[in-house]
């Protein structure tokens, strides 16, 4: 077997390897090989460390015939200490006056401030690629961010700590976590990342193992990196909000009890993000961001407290506007008879409940499961689609809901390609095929566009003639 190797133009690292016979037989491989060879590409680590610019400088010098070496490349590398003591004019400009400032916070920790200062000066980030660190016994939870400026810092490891439900930390537990961060890391915590987990930044590789041991001894778990379930996120739910239609905190706790192994041991084709919202207001942005989104819904019509509504109207509430903006035109107000809701037209969009304190969600409550939302991936952002319109959420183990979620992930695990998000997978095979695979029967309640945008305002003259009969004829907010 004759092997053909494509090596990095700078460091000689083997980027790709081909077998000669396969290359001759497969035209796609041959095309890729020729493309890469013509490009004379370099490996990601060289790209991250800025060697491409060095390479270009050398090439330019050769082409131009200039005998003088490049001043930048001939200069001795600047030491870490020199950079650490350097001036930070751009960061000082951002330092706090009336408002707490991130630069003041960063300067009090071990964070390499020159990385940020240089980023501000050069108008692009000085950090490089990210990746995972293999720590024996720890399958996921440790990441590394490489540095494009090895003269300032060599890169930075960080740990993802799975937060308790509701993101509640007791002051005591937080104090202990801070002690660990001071002892082993920069002394800098990232609260909370967009995935809903706590990140401890800047841990040297030799400190990773003792840091992980101390964190797990406190009762916290680390995980949520790689191709597994990421840390789920839920809205505050019944702990602070009166609109929550199911116990999101208890739901997430039960979810962890059932799926903790999948959070800590990566096995899926790509990451799976889960978010749980208490009501269709979707404060966790699950519809846009989550591969699996569990949303609290109700089936009956909203409950009306007539005296409270009448009081609200007397106090100056614009009930006519609310009725005109109801997307299903289900709200009707008559001064003598009070407010009424047409149950068949109601779309359960929560608009009236948000606006009028006398209208609350109904009592026949459950959850709906949506799949396939994401912001990145092969085909770009997708909104999630309703898979199951209504399921009863029954504590303590929520068996019916979790069985459904597990079935979805098993199908995804079996049929998706490597590094293909759930949304891309659904686009590739289609929803019909997905229903067949999961064995879920489609119903008329599955709507791809459940809610029109109530918060978009326009003037009457901006509306095209055919749209004049819109339920939202003109803006009252704008005046």
């Amino acid at each position: 077997m004759e092997k053909i190797k494509l090596c990095c133009a700078k460091c000689g690292f083997t980027v790709e390897e081909y077998v000669a016979d396969e290359l001759a037989a497969d035209s796609r491989k041959l095309k890729r090989y020729k493309y890469l060879k013509n490009k004379s590409s370099i490996c990601p680590s060289c790209l991250a460390s800025g060697r491409l610019n060095e390479l270009r400088a050398i090439e330019e010098a050769v082409v131009g015939g200039a005998a003088q070496p490049d001043a930048k490349s001939s200069a001795a590398p600047v030491g870490h200490a020199e950079y650490a003591a350097g001036e930070t004019p751009m960061m000082d400009a951002l330092a706090g006056r009336e408002w707490p400032s991130h630069t003041t916070e960063l300067k009090q920790t071990g964070y390499p401030v020159q990385m940020y200062e240089q980023a501000l000066q050069q108008r692009r980030t000085q950090w490089g690629y990210g990746g995972y660190v293999s720590l024996p016994g720890v399958a996921s939870g440790v990441l590394v961010r490489s540095s494009a400026r090895p003269d300032i810092t060599k890169g930075s490891n960080f740990l993802r700590i799975m937060d308790p439900c509701g993101n509640f930390f007791s002051a005591d537990a937080m104090r202990k976590l801070c002690d660990i961060a001071d002892k082993y890391a920069y002394g800098l915590l990232h609260l909370l990342s967009t995935g809903g987990d706590l990140e401890m930044l800047g841990i040297p590789t030799e400190n990773l193992k003792p840091a992980v041991e101390e964190i797990t001894a406190l009762g916290f778990d680390i995980g949520s990196t790689g191709d597994d379930y990421r840390t789920s996120e839920e809205c505050i739910g019944p702990a602070k909000c009166d609109l929550a239609l199911y116990d999101t905190l208890g739901f997430r706790y039960a979810w962890y009890r059932r799926f903790l192994d999948d959070v800590q041991y990566p096995r899926f084709p790509h990451k799976i993000k889960s978010k749980f919202a208490g009501c269709p207001n979707d404060c966790v942005r699950g519809c846009q961001k989550a591969d699996i989104f569990v949303c609290g819904v109700f089936r009956d019509s909203p409950r009306i407290d007539q005296p409270k509504v009448a009081e609200w109207v007397e106090g100056g509430g614009n009930i006519t506007l609310i009725c005109s903006r109801c997307p299903g035109r289900a709200l009707h107000w008559e001064p003598g008879r009070g407010l009424s809701i047409d149950a068949d037209s109601c779309m359960h969009c929560m608009y009236c409940s948000n606006k009028i304190s006398g209208v609350r969600p109904g009592v026949d409550r459950g959850v709906s499961i949506l799949v396939g939302g994401k912001l990145r991936g092969k085909y770009g952002p997708t909104l999630s689609k309703v898979l199951v319109p209504f399921l009863k959420a029954e504590p303590p183990d929520y068996k019916e809901v979790f069985d459904c979620i597990e079935r979805v992930t098993e199908i995804y695990d079996e049929h998706a390609r490597k590094k293909e998000r759930m949304g891309d997978f659904l686009l590739r095979i289609g929803m019909d095929e997905f229903y067949k695979l999961t064995g879920i029967t489609p119903t008329p309640h599955l709507v791809s566009q459940p809610r029109t945008n109530l918060f978009c305002h326009w003037d009457a003259e901006e509306v095209r003639p055919s749209h004049k009969e819109s339920p939202c004829p003109e803006s009252e907010y704008r005046r």
Partner: protein, 105 residues
């Protein structure tokens, strides 16, 4: 290219310690590499995973998906991590004499 010596034989390895020629692999190689992966003694469960990986590689020329590995051996992923602390890709594939798998498992 760096080399390692196991039971009197020399093997060429890459920068992560994966042996380069799978044809040279035998049980002695797995036993020799086990200590470096934090495994004190190879049990029957270890051999089940290792033999499956090696036979899959000789048949198809690549490492199996994790899902397939779990299904065929009957272990769940957590058990495999307990058997091979460095993970199925870095630990188990190295002991089974496979080249370094691509991707970040």
């Amino acid at each position: 290219m760096p080399t390692i010596t196991l039971s009197g034989r020399q093997f060429e390895v890459d920068e992560d310690g994966f042996i380069q020629d799978p044809a040279q692999w035998d049980d002695a190689v797995a036993n020799g590499l086990a200590a470096g992966e934090g495994i004190t003694a190879l049990t029957e469960d270890h051999w089940k995973v290792i033999r499956y990986l090696h036979s899959y590689y000789t048949e198809f020329g690549s490492a199996p998906m994790i899902r397939k590995l779990c299904k065929e051996t009957g272990f769940n992923l957590k058990t495999i991590y307990q058997l091979f602390p460095t993970g199925p890709a870095k630990g188990a594939c190295k002991l089974a004499g496979l080249p370094k798998p691509t991707g970040c498992v």
